[in-house]
Symmetry: C2
Subunit: 351 residues, 2 copies
């Protein structure tokens, strides 16, 4: 099969790899019909994370079950499935608590399972999925989703689940004013998630016309292009003299977190899902004085997919709109370049 | 009148001060029947905070309304009242949001009101209370509470409201396992608050027999005397292999916060109310990886008192048990010494 391999900073190649096979009774092999490049894939691409040896990359995919191991009963070949961005067991205390991303047997696409077998990356033609029943979510009644539905289902792998996590953690909902820091795919999905949870007033922070437009399409009532103190002042002005009840931090930098704190009213909530780059720290005194509650982290996509899936299938949310570019898998190197240069919000790859 | 004045580190004196008078139409003057020394009073006492000039000290008191200004209708002389640990307006956006400690007109006992008039400290015989209707909470049907009730009402000024804030922020409640870091008056009240909110499993961290005993009386089901990694391991052992759902950080040091993080399960909640000493910082990556939600800060006592008061009056909670020493106001210097040396959990002062 063909699969995307990262060799080092700036060095993405699509190469031949062995077709995956069932290794363990709980495995499934999925034929990938759509995958994509994540903002977090850019970290090793930009050299922020080391890549000591070449490895398969990509952690968001949807596709069709090809074969299953002897212990897999709930999935059969032909099922269309969404894969969360990590592999989890569904049975440990963390999974039972819904925190699948802290699973005792957590495994990463492109990594290894606990038996030591390699797991394929998501940006390839096929993926062996350990603990397939626990990890994959079957899409009921769908075998060949059209392009639009495929794109929206694919967002459930990561960005829509992550935006939803930010909105939930920030307690976005009816009667709550919301600010979203970050206009990447996750931030835009955060806008959509806040709207879906019932927030009426949603302020998106963006200075790019295309992203501003999509934010408005997703439910943003206002857009703030300023940054720093000016942005907080703009929020205060829009909200009649108070800061926001709920702020979604969807970037992961210190600047974004500072921006989120500056936009949150006393007693308000921050939901943060931007994977923290660098040694980001929170000043406890600042949180204490403002009575800010902060929560979030890596989104338990596996827990959220069943909750979000019906709305995607009903077409009441269309998070797949975040994909503004589509390429064949063979063009993965160009997909990385486009994401890196912010020429694309998010690139969908077709194996 | 007699009032407690801090002159500098280790220098507490009880001195003559002018009897307070009504200065503004919204004022009341309260005759203090009980006051006390707070852990946070020890900060300037120990020199951790500067005391540039002598000032009246004390922010927890209960007493009887003596006189009221022309605009005060809801309070009359003779009413027994509880004073929250700060003075707030009740009308600004922060107060309407319940975050009275972030009031736009916030004033401190021992400080000045926005008109520039001095406000008395709580450790004295009388206190002029600005915005009296908004700040004070009348105790219905009570004019001369007995010693036990007085003590419990007095905790509503600060420590019981603060312990409650920690428990609320940590989402302590039915089905949730709770750890309380800190065995001072606030930590002990945190145990009581967690129990009151319905938590069945409450682990108190303490290595002092008297505090352990009171923690158990307040509802702790287990006591852990270890610290650091050993404490987290003990919690994990008590909870069947998982860490706690809800952790109350009731100290304010970096060590206590680290302890709280170490005891929280993935996806769990920390409620922190320990006034952060030093430059305490939270590692965002650590919170991200464990999906920990952290909230708290200065407790909005004014918001909580009406909620907690009925339980105190009914005797279903007796937070006044945290006062293990009682002294006349004239002995305030000794009260500070006893608290500083941890010879007392909390000292009640009788003017």
């Amino acid at each position: 099969m063909r699969a995307t391999i990262i060799h080092g900073p700036g060095d993405i190649r699509v190469e031949d790899r062995p077709d995956p096979e069932i290794k363990l009774p709980a495995d499934a092999v999925v034929k990938v019909t759509a995958s994509c490049v994540c903002g977090s894939d850019l970290w090793p691409y930009r050299g922020a994370f080391r890549t000591p040896e070449p490895r398969a990359i990509g952690h968001e995919f949807v596709g069709v079950v090809q074969s299953v191991g002897a212990d897999v009963a709930a999935l059969v070949p032909g099922d269309f499935v969404v894969a969360p961005f990590v592999d989890s067991c569904g049975a440990c205390p963390q999974c039972r608590n819904g925190v699948t991303v802290a699973c005792d047997y957590l495994a990463s696409w492109g990594g290894k399972d606990e038996a030591g077998f390699a797991i394929d990356g998501g940006q390839g033609q096929y993926v062996r999925v350990p603990r397939a029943e626990a990890t994959l979510v079957k899409v009921p009644g769908v075998t060949e989703p059209d392009r639009e539905l495929t794109a929206s289902l694919l967002t459930l792998s990561d960005v829509m689940a992550t935006g939803h996590h930010a909105a939930v953690a920030a307690q976005a909902g009816p009667g709550r004013s919301v600010v979203v820091v970050g206009d990447g795919a996750v931030g835009l999905c955060g806008v959509l998630a806040a709207r879906r949870l019932g927030a009426e007033r949603i302020i998106a922070m963006s200075r790019h016309a295309d992203r501003q437009a999509l934010a408005r399409e997703f439910g943003a009532t206002d857009v703030v292009a300023e940054r720093g103190i000016a942005a907080a002042a703009a929020v205060r002005g829009l909200l009649g003299g108070v800061l926001a009840d709920a702020v979604l931090e969807c970037v992961g930098t210190k600047e974004a977190m500072d921006q989120a704190v500056a936009c949150t009213r006393p007693g308000g909530n921050i939901g943060f899902v931007g994977s923290p780059s660098g040694g980001s720290e929170l000043n406890v005194r600042q949180l204490f004085n403002k009575n800010i509650t902060i929560g979030g982290g890596m989104a338990p996509a596996r827990t959220y997919i069943p909750e979000l899936l019906p709305d995607v299938l009903a077409g009441t949310i269309n998070p797949g709109r975040v994909f503004d570019v589509e390429m064949p898998l063979e063009d993965a190197p160009e997909a990385y370049r486009a994401m890196d240069a912010r020429r694309a919000i998010k690139v969908l790859l077709r194996p």
